[in-house]
C-alpha cells in the first residue's frame, strides 16, 4: 500500500462514513466471460479453491459430484462448484449469471460468472453492468473467436475499463510462447477498436492452476503477474467523488409534519450542509440543511453513500427527481440518443411504447428511430427496422416527459436505463445514454410564477381530461358534446378536441398508418396536457385505437386526472349508423387502414367508464359521465 493511500485513510477515520465507495481498493467486482468450454467455471472454482475459500463439506460435496457428473476423470472438476442449477449440471453448460465471493488479505472480490453461449449474451451485459474489470477467456487452441470479439465489444459498451485476456488451456498447446503471442496479436486487433485503459494478457491453465494464483514453472517466458496478483493490485479508476454532484431521489422520508427528507444514494460528487442544490428537472433551488443518517448527521457525504438530505426550503421534489448543484446541471430532455442491448425474444419495434427506468425515474418511452444496429463481429453499422434478442443498436428515444440524465460515459448511474415491457413487466432491454436531442437539451425549466395551482384557484375546479375512445361512428363526439354543454352550464371551463377538427389543423400532415396514428395521439395528448396545465377541463374524442398510446396519454397527466371513457358500440351498429358514409367507402375498399375493418381497434381492458350505446341513449350516458366527474372531483 502506498503512502498516499494511507493518508487518505487517516482522513477517512475523522469522518468514518464519508469514504464509502470512494476507496475502491477494498472490493473489486469483475466478470468472467468467454465461449462455451473455455473454462470460465473451472477458473472461478480454481480461484475459490486456491484462495482457500472452500469449506471441507463443500470440497467433499465437490468430490462426490465430480465422480457423478464430472468431466475431469478422477480429478476434481472445479466447474461443478459454480454451475449451480440442476439443468446446467446435466447439460454441462452455464446458463445464467452467477455471483461468487472470495477474499484475500488484500481485497474482497465479487465475481460474476457469465455464460458464453451465444443465446445468453444478455447475461454478459448483466454481469458487466456492475463490474470494474472483465476476465475474457480464450481457449489457447482455438484463439480469438466470434464470441471473443462480441464479449470485448459488450465489455467496452458497458463501460468496463480494464480487461484481462486469460489465454486458458495453455497446457494443451505445450505452454507454447509463440502461440500465446499470436493470440495476443490477434486480440490487439480486436481491442484497437475500443478504449480500454488496460489490457493484460495472461497465459494460464485453470485446470492445473498455472499462473492462476501461483507462478507457473511451465511458462518461464512469461514475466507478468499471475491472475490473482493482477486482480489484487490493479488500480480501478474511481474519480466519482470529483464529478458533479448527483443525488437521484429514491424515497421521500416523511415521519411527521416537521421532517421532510430526500433519501437516495449519491451517484457522484460530494455534498455538505449549506451547499446550494437544484431540482434538476424543475430548476427549483434550495440549500442543504442536514445530511441525516441513522448514525448521526454528516458534515460531508460522497459517492455510494445512502443518505437523507433535508433542505432549507419547502420545495416540490419527489422520487425520480435528481438533486444537483446549480452550476453543474445535467441534461434535461424528453429525447435522447442511446445504445440499447435488446434482451427479449420479442423484437424491439420503433413506435411501441415501453416503460423506461432511468435512475429512480420510470417513464413511458418509445424508440422514434433506430439509427443502426452494430454487427458485433465486424463492428459495422447496419440499417435495421427492429432489434432482435442480443442485438445492439443506436436508437433515438422519445419520452413521455423530460428527465434529467448524464451520458453513460460521464456517469453510469445517471446515464443507464432498463427497458420494461408494459404488458409482461419483463425487463426487455438495457440502455446507455449517449446525448440528449434537440430543443430540450440544455434548456432548463423555469419555475413558473403562475403555476397550475394558481389556474385551478382562479377556475374554481380541478382540470380533467375526458378521453373518449371507440370506433368511428360509435357516438364519441355526440356524447362529448352533451357532456360539454352540461359542464358549461355548471360553470366549468372546458374545451373539446375532436378527431376531425385537430386533423384539419395541427395534425394535417398525418395520415392513417400505424406510425401516423401513434403520432396523432401523441400530439393530441400533449395538447390536452397543456389545457390541463391551464386548469381547463378537456374533452378528447379520438378513435385512439391502441392501448399503448392511450396509456401514454394517461401517463402524461397526474394520477386521477385522466379519465378513459370507452364508447362501446358494436361495429355492425356503427356500420348501420355510418354518419359520415365512411364504412360504405371502407367496405368498398376505397379507404385503407380503416379502424375495425383493415386496422385493429384494441378495446380498453379497464376503462374508467364503459358506455354501451346500445343500452342507453346519449343523454343518459352523458349524465353518467358528468356524475362520475363530480364524484371524482370530490374524492
Amino acid at each position: 500500500m502506498d503512502d498516499a493511500m494511507q493518508d487518505t485513510r487517516a482522513q477517512d477515520r475523522a469522518t468514518p462514513l464519508a469514504y464509502a465507495g470512494a476507496a475502491a481498493g477494498g472490493m473489486l467486482r469483475f466478470l468472467t466471460c468467454g465461449s462455451v468450454d473455455d473454462g470460465k467455471s473451472t477458473l472461478i472454482g480454481r480461484l475459490l479453491y486456491d484462495s482457500k475459500q472452500l469449506f471441507e463439506d463443500q470440497v467433499s460435496t465437490l468430490e462426490r459430484d465430480s465422480r457423478k457428473h464430472g468431466t475431469a476423470g478422477e480429478e476434481i472438476d472445479f466447474a461443478l462448484l459454480v454451475d449451480g442449477l440442476e439443468a446446467e449440471r446435466e447439460q454441462g453448460i452455464t446458463i445464467d449469471v452467477a455471483y461468487r465471493f472470495f477474499a484475500t488479505e488484500r481485497r474482497s472480490f465479487i465475481v460474476a460468472d457469465t455464460p458464453g453461449h451465444e443465446q445468453y449474451t444478455r447475461n454478459m451485459a448483466t454481469g458487466a453492468s456492475t463490474a470494474d474489470l472483465a476476465v475474457l477467456l480464450v481457449d489457447a487452441r482455438l484463439g480469438v473467436l466470434t464470441q471473443t470479439r462480441r464479449h470485448a465489444f459488450i465489455a467496452s459498451l458497458l463501460g468496463i475499463r480494464h480487461l484481462v485476456l486469460a489465454v486458458n488451456k495453455i497446457d494443451l498447446v505445450g505452454f507454447d510462447q509463440d502461440r500465446f503471442d499470436e493470440i495476443c496479436a490477434d486480440f490487439r486487433g480486436v481491442v484497437d477498436n475500443f478504449s480500454f485503459t488496460t489490457v493484460t494478457p495472461i497465459p494460464l491453465s485453470a485446470r492445473f492452476g498455472d499462473n492462476v494464483t501461483s507462478r507457473s514453472e511451465n511458462t518461464p517466458w512469461y514475466a507478468g503477474p499471475t491472475l490473482l496478483e493482477h486482480l489484487e493490485t490493479i488500480e480501478v479508476d474511481n474519480d466519482l467523488a470529483d464529478r458533479p454532484f448527483r443525488l437521484p431521489v429514491q424515497w421521500v422520508n416523511r415521519p411527521n409534519l416537521d421532517f421532510r427528507g430526500f433519501s437516495g444514494t449519491i451517484a457522484s460528487g460530494a455534498i455538505r450542509p449549506g451547499d446550494a442544490v437544484t431540482v434538476a428537472s424543475s430548476g427549483v433551488r434550495s440549500t442543504v440543511a442536514r445530511i441525516v443518517t441513522y448514525d448521526g448527521d454528516l458534515d460531508r457525504a460522497g459517492p455510494g453513500q445512502a443518505v437523507t438530505l433535508t433542505l432549507a426550503d419547502e420545495v416540490d421534489c419527489s422520487r425520480g427527481d435528481i438533486l444537483v448543484r446549480p452550476e453543474q446541471r445535467p441534461e434535461v430532455s424528453d429525447q435522447f440518443s442511446a445504445h440499447i442491448v435488446w434482451m427479449s425474444e420479442t423484437p424491439m419495434l420503433p413506435g411501441r411504447v415501453y416503460l423506461l427506468k432511468i435512475g429512480t425515474r420510470s417513464v413511458a418511452a418509445s424508440v422514434t428511430d433506430i439509427r443502426h444496429k452494430i454487427d458485433v463481429n465486424s463492428f459495422q453499422q447496419i440499417a435495421t427496422k427492429s432489434l432482435a434478442l442480443n442485438e445492439v443498436g443506436v436508437c433515438h428515444l422519445s419520452l413521455a416527459s423530460a428527465v434529467a440524465f448524464d451520458s453513460y460515459e460521464e456517469n453510469h448511474r445517471t446515464g443507464a436505463f432498463i427497458v420494461i415491457d408494459r404488458q409482461s413487466n419483463a425487463t426487455v432491454g438495457a440502455g446507455m445514454v449517449q446525448f440528449g436531442l434537440r430543443r430540450a437539451t440544455n434548456v432548463h425549466h423555469q419555475a413558473m410564477t403562475i403555476d397550475k395551482a394558481a389556474h385551478i384557484r382562479l377556475n374554481g375546479h380541478r382540470p380533467f381530461v375526458l378521453w373518449f375512445t371507440g370506433l368511428s361512428g360509435s357516438g364519441k363526439s355526440t356524447i362529448a358534446n352533451l357532456v360539454e354543454a352540461k359542464l358549461y352550464s355548471l360553470g366549468y371551463r372546458t374545451y373539446a378536441l375532436d378527431g376531425d377538427n385537430v386533423r384539419h389543423g395541427l395534425n394535417k400532415d398525418l395520415g392513417f398508418t400505424d406510425a401516423d396514428r401513434v403520432e396523432n395521439i401523441r400530439r393530441v395528448a400533449e395538447v390536452a396536457k397543456l389545457f390541463s396545465d391551464a386548469g381547463v377541463l378537456t374533452l378528447v374524442s379520438f378513435i385512439s385505437p391502441f392501448r399503448a398510446e392511450r396509456q401514454m396519454a394517461r401517463d402524461l397527466m397526474p394520477p386521477g386526472e385522466f379519465i378513459e371513457i370507452f364508447v362501446d358500440t358494436p361495429i355492425d351498429v356503427c356500420r348501420q349508423r355510418d354518419p359520415k358514409g365512411l364504412y360504405r367507402k371502407a367496405d368498398a375498399g376505397q379507404i385503407t387502414n380503416f379502424t375495425g375493418i383493415s386496422s385493429p381497434y384494441e378495446a380498453p381492458v379497464n376503462p374508467d367508464l364503459h358506455l354501451e350505446t346500445v343500452r342507453a341513449d346519449p343523454v343518459e350516458l352523458a349524465e353518467r359521465v358528468v356524475k362520475f366527474l363530480i364524484d371524482r372531483e370530490e374524492e
Binding site: G84, S129, P255, T265, A306, N425
Partner: protein, 310 residues
Amino acid sequence: MNEIAATMRGTRFMDHLDRLENESIEIMREVAAETRNPVMLYSVGKDSSVMLHLAQKAFHPSAPPFPLMHVDTTWKFKEMYRFRDEAAKRAGMRLIVHINQQGVADGVGPITHGSAYHTQVMKTESLKQALDLYKFDAAFGGARRDEEKSRAKERVFSFRSETHAWDPKNQRPELWNLYNARVRGRESMRVFPLSNWTEADIWQYILREDIPIPSLYFAAERPIVHRDGMLIMLDDDRLPLEPGEAPQMLMVRFRTLGCYPLTGAVLSTATTLEEIVRETLGATTSERQGRVIDRDEASAMEKKKREGYF
C-alpha cells in the same frame, strides 16, 4: 467500541462493509418506493438481525414502512421466541406471526414426519399461506448468494408467479442498480438485500454495529445428543431420546438457527463476538452444514426454492 471493532474501522474491510451496507439500504428504499404492500420476513437468526438493523438505517428517522413477519414452525428454540418479540418491540415495528394451523391440527413435526415434510408443510406452505392471506406483493428475505449454489444465481429482486414459484431459467435480467419491481395481480417479489454479503461480512458487521443476536450463537454448556453426525440440543421435552442416547452437557454454539431438532450445534468456546468472528474467519465447514434439510442431495435447495421456499 471494543478492540477488534476499533482495529477493523481502520482497515479496508470497512470500505467493503460500507459498500454492502449502502447497497442494502438502496435496495430496501427501492422496495418501499416501488411496491404496494411489502413485508420483511424475520426468522430471528443473525441474518434477520442484520437485515432489521439495515432497515432501521434505511428509513431513519422514520420507522421501516412495513411489518415484520415470522413464519413459525412451532419448533424453534425457546429463546428465539423471546428474542423475536423483543426485537420487534425495539424496532417499533408490527410483528405478524403466522403458523400453518392445518399443519398443527395434523400434528406435523420434524420428529414424527421427517425434516423434508415438516419443512414443506410448516415453512414453505405456511409462508405461501401468509403471503396470500396478507396480500403482500414484496417480501424481504435474508438469503445470501454465498450460502448455496442455486442462490448464487438468484436476482436481488426475484420474481414469483401467482403460485409463488421461482423459474430459474426465466429470470429478469438485473443490471446496474436498476431493479425491476413490477408485478401484476397476485404475482410478487422476493427481495434479498443481503445478496452480496458473505457469512464473514455478516459477523464483522454485527461486531462493528453491535447488533443484538440471540445468545444461542454464543458458546455455552448445553444439553446435547449426538444424532446422525450432528449435535442436537434438547431444547424442550418434545425430542424423544433413542435407545442408548443420553444427553451430555457440551460447550457448543450455533452457526445458524432453525427448528431445534434439525439444527446442529458446533463445539466451540467462543463466548464473545470477537471470538466468533475469529472462529468464522478460520472456519473449515460451511454454515449450512448444520442443517438437516440441505443434506439429502446437492440440489435439494434448488428444488425447495422452485416450490417457494425462501
